[in-house]
Subunit: 339 residues, 4 copies
Amino acid sequence: MILVVQPNATEKEINHIMERVQELGFTPHLIRGEQRTVIGVVGDETRPSGEALEAIPGIEQALRILKPFKLASREFSSKDRVVQVGKLSIGGGSLALIAGPCAVESREGLDRIAASVKKAGANLLRGGAFKPRTSPYSFQGLGEEGLKILRDIGNKYDMPIVTEVMDVRQVELISRYTDMFQIGARNMQNFDLLREIGQTRIPVLLKRGMSATVKDLLMSAEYILAGGNENVVLCERGVRSFEDSTRNMLDLSAVPNVKGQSHLPIIVDPSHATGRPDLIPAMCSASIAAGADGVHVEVHDCPEKALSDGPQALLPDRFTKLAVELRTIASALGKVIPA
Amino acid sequence: MILVVQPNATEKEINHIMERVQELGFTPHLIRGEQRTVIGVVGDETRPSGEALEAIPGIEQALRILKPFKLASREFSSKDRVVQVGKLSIGGGSLALIAGPCAVESREGLDRIAASVKKAGANLLRGGAFKPRTSPYSFQGLGEEGLKILRDIGNKYDMPIVTEVMDVRQVELISRYTDMFQIGARNMQNFDLLREIGQTRIPVLLKRGMSATVKDLLMSAEYILAGGNENVVLCERGVRSFEDSTRNMLDLSAVPNVKGQSHLPIIVDPSHATGRPDLIPAMCSASIAAGADGVHVEVHDCPEKALSDGPQALLPDRFTKLAVELRTIASALGKVIPA
Amino acid sequence: MILVVQPNATEKEINHIMERVQELGFTPHLIRGEQRTVIGVVGDETRPSGEALEAIPGIEQALRILKPFKLASREFSSKDRVVQVGKLSIGGGSLALIAGPCAVESREGLDRIAASVKKAGANLLRGGAFKPRTSPYSFQGLGEEGLKILRDIGNKYDMPIVTEVMDVRQVELISRYTDMFQIGARNMQNFDLLREIGQTRIPVLLKRGMSATVKDLLMSAEYILAGGNENVVLCERGVRSFEDSTRNMLDLSAVPNVKGQSHLPIIVDPSHATGRPDLIPAMCSASIAAGADGVHVEVHDCPEKALSDGPQALLPDRFTKLAVELRTIASALGKVIPA
Amino acid sequence: MILVVQPNATEKEINHIMERVQELGFTPHLIRGEQRTVIGVVGDETRPSGEALEAIPGIEQALRILKPFKLASREFSSKDRVVQVGKLSIGGGSLALIAGPCAVESREGLDRIAASVKKAGANLLRGGAFKPRTSPYSFQGLGEEGLKILRDIGNKYDMPIVTEVMDVRQVELISRYTDMFQIGARNMQNFDLLREIGQTRIPVLLKRGMSATVKDLLMSAEYILAGGNENVVLCERGVRSFEDSTRNMLDLSAVPNVKGQSHLPIIVDPSHATGRPDLIPAMCSASIAAGADGVHVEVHDCPEKALSDGPQALLPDRFTKLAVELRTIASALGKVIPA
């Protein structure tokens, strides 16, 4: 950490800072500049006591140098992590093509959609049994009944499944059915939930919060990794912005940005990012070209009758066409979308 | 809801939209304009089936007319709600002056700070026992021991207390100690937690999420109100923005904005909004002038030794001076800060 | 336009709204709903008098239906526009690969960089002679001397050139040298400049403002088109956001978003969007995959000695490698980057 | 500046950095930490060569320490600057109450509005003769005829006037009529315009750009000050955000934030910030309580017939009531709104 001393600080204040830095277990290096005095602090600033450095009186700015995450960092592991979800590998050139309806609505409905996306080449089936809804009056999901349906249909089509967990009390129940947890954007900083998932060894798809920086996302992954669960796949799904013609703003540069800093795989969800079926295919193609380890697409065969997020679902035919396009791009880049 | 038909829609598509609107239990009114055909939909669009309207093929835009919250709305109750926390009234011209450290760190430390803020005129004592921290390596709070200390010190100085609840499993425990729950920004859309708190009758301070709109905040309040707990106080605490010299951007216009749409009280937390002690006093004054029902300020007598958020805490002396300023402004506006 | 009447509006107020709508030359259609009365307004709301509708007393909300741009719209021309810059076609499957230094610094320097990017396959040479700098103490460009150098080097390597215009008084001077104007993000709503450029017939690269919506960008294009200059190429270059690890946030969904609404070509500038050479190549690939009509990359052979924006420039070798990657993706999508 | 060396940098690279720092005229101080090597650079980093430091190969991060503005800084002048506009002092406890219509529409209309706001206590009359409009089809202002009317009405009511300048070619013309220039948000980084205004000695109201940080705003002020014009008044008018119920987000903390860093006065414009007459009065009160040197309010006696921005104008009666409220708050804070 670098401490910039206030321009009008007295020698006594500077001495106090130097002493306090040592007291906290760090080594200070004083540099007197033309307009500012700065103190280089040697030692691990990510220790809990690091934060206390910033509150010493007489300091104008405290500049952090180290990244606050460790287990999630590229420095911890230079090799790209490959996460195994059932028989599907995510990462290392093997791409996830996740598809399914927003919510599990009925056995017949999910069966039809799964048949279609499986045939198109999707390799991971999604569907919500517990739904986070901004309105208490909206459909909240089928609960355990939805989990059962999802499991059965996954088995029928030989696809691993992913479903959202919202509440620490659901972890045990959902773990009996799913191959992969999803932690939604709204729960990215639900730290108790992260800790609980960290105690399992089930793979988890961790979505970026709507106002989370890339660093925040990696810090949330760190919570799960710190519990011993190494099977974390990140997901960029758009952030809030002033642009009002899309539901969120897809920050696609997060893909290479994460890959430079972390060994974890990252996929992209253009469905929630844009909220617009007319933009989803182009953003899926762009995601693969940007180096993402997969994409996540909501598909529904009758969006106008969907109980949740119908307006943003892709029709099965459009998804089938998209899957062809994605294989073309993946292939041009030397990657594969395993069946 | 108003459905704008795509410019190239066929008569068949328009007929399908009309039929589907009726099927969903609404009455359609067709208006053919010069460049667009629109369909006015009469009926309560906030019903679950309202969302399905937007996904009918052939629709370019669906414009919602009604606010999606009901119990939180001005139309539900034109009279300002006054929330009682112990003997303190919040709302209706009676202002909360909430103060205390970010986290409860020790009995002695909290005692000293409480003595000081009580003397200055604070009327609600805050302190965290369970802390949401972006890093798993930071201090996470004293847990139940912290609750006991907070309760005892509150009693000693005859101040009601408020403390954060992060996990549905903590609700029962915390309810045995606290006078008011706080739901933090990161949990504003933790819907299971909102539902649990809605089942209690304990007052709750609901903080705005970092990327929540005013409407989102009111929808989260709706979850609590829908459970039967009417004792909701909202809290503006800043949102994420591109401005990098403050921790968040304080959206003070949310105060009159909420008051126009809702009967619920709203207070302001300039500590988390700005993260800068040099800006907190001016923003407290501005909050009262804007019509807020109180302010929330972190106070610590030795910020450089605080275990959490030291850099944003106000010193007790500065808080004492601030309390005088706030009483002056409150008084000029015909309001009171009860002791 | 749809006018939503305030819930407590009197019959007299409703009558006044109906009359005022007619006075302004529109036809009102009254729909009485369960909770709100709405008035559908038939007529061209993009006329100047349309704005006045919103200010009629008794109106809660005014919802616009039409896009405010005409000449830039897909409805004006369903065919993709191809803009000719010298011998280079931009649009219709022909991609621009724009490269060069941020600023023209010297004849020798530009010659070296141009030789390198030309060899790699760039087809449009960029370089600033007049530079918008946030600090009055930074290098402001070589002015006319820079234009001469750029023109000469463009001729030497048989590449058309593009350079920024910042001031209405420079239009005539720059038009004597350049093949294409660039209007920078900071001037996207410098309406007098847009009007002046609209009077020329020289192609223009119009960059999106840092807080401009896609609609705002198209409205600025409309200013130029309204003057009679049809040779507009749009450029997505990132917008301001809370993410602090990149210079701006690249909104890549703007590419299909613009293409759905407008016939104008759109390219992407990942250099300014990310400000990070490590992210630029992935974002160039993603841009082409998203359907962009080209990319714009800053290249410098000695970034540490660049007089402007050195930290975000790509080295010539990295650019050469990138050009190969882009041709692979373009080819997979059936597009070409003409030499 | 602090240069953080990449973790894998070689000794040779570190030596190159040290040499390059010296070559650029700075003195390097090497500190070897546990996980990172950093180089403290002594010297004035705001010199043009400072930027080149960031592009030296082997550097992971370059952390700036100094503020890039000088003449605008508190360190340049610790005393609050008071700007004189005609007989009105802005700053130092004397508050500007700026009012008038968005655009000058007619002599009679402006006369009526001016009579009303003068009587209420406004001390500076505003009105646009040249209007920046997002649509080329909207009313663009009366031009010189508008300036004449504004001047005459200002004289009639003995009020100084302020009007917007958009184009460098208008500076001379407008300077013949106005007491104060306004530079609008869209032109905050129109550097040629800033330079031209810096050559005059006429006071200028410089509005914050819609995506400008506080530092950006002060850098734009620096352009004007560097030209020798010291009469700069800053204006906070809201920035773009995801909140969709207000036109912009008013960043009121910018007021104490600017005052801590700069000696320049700053006022607030809640009309453009919120775009909602129902929020303007509360935000004016909050601005004064936050320490602003004045407020800027659009007033129109018939918003539904205004040619520009009618929906956000306050009615004269509401303004009169507001002026009383503002005097009450100003007086409680020991400040005055001179007649």
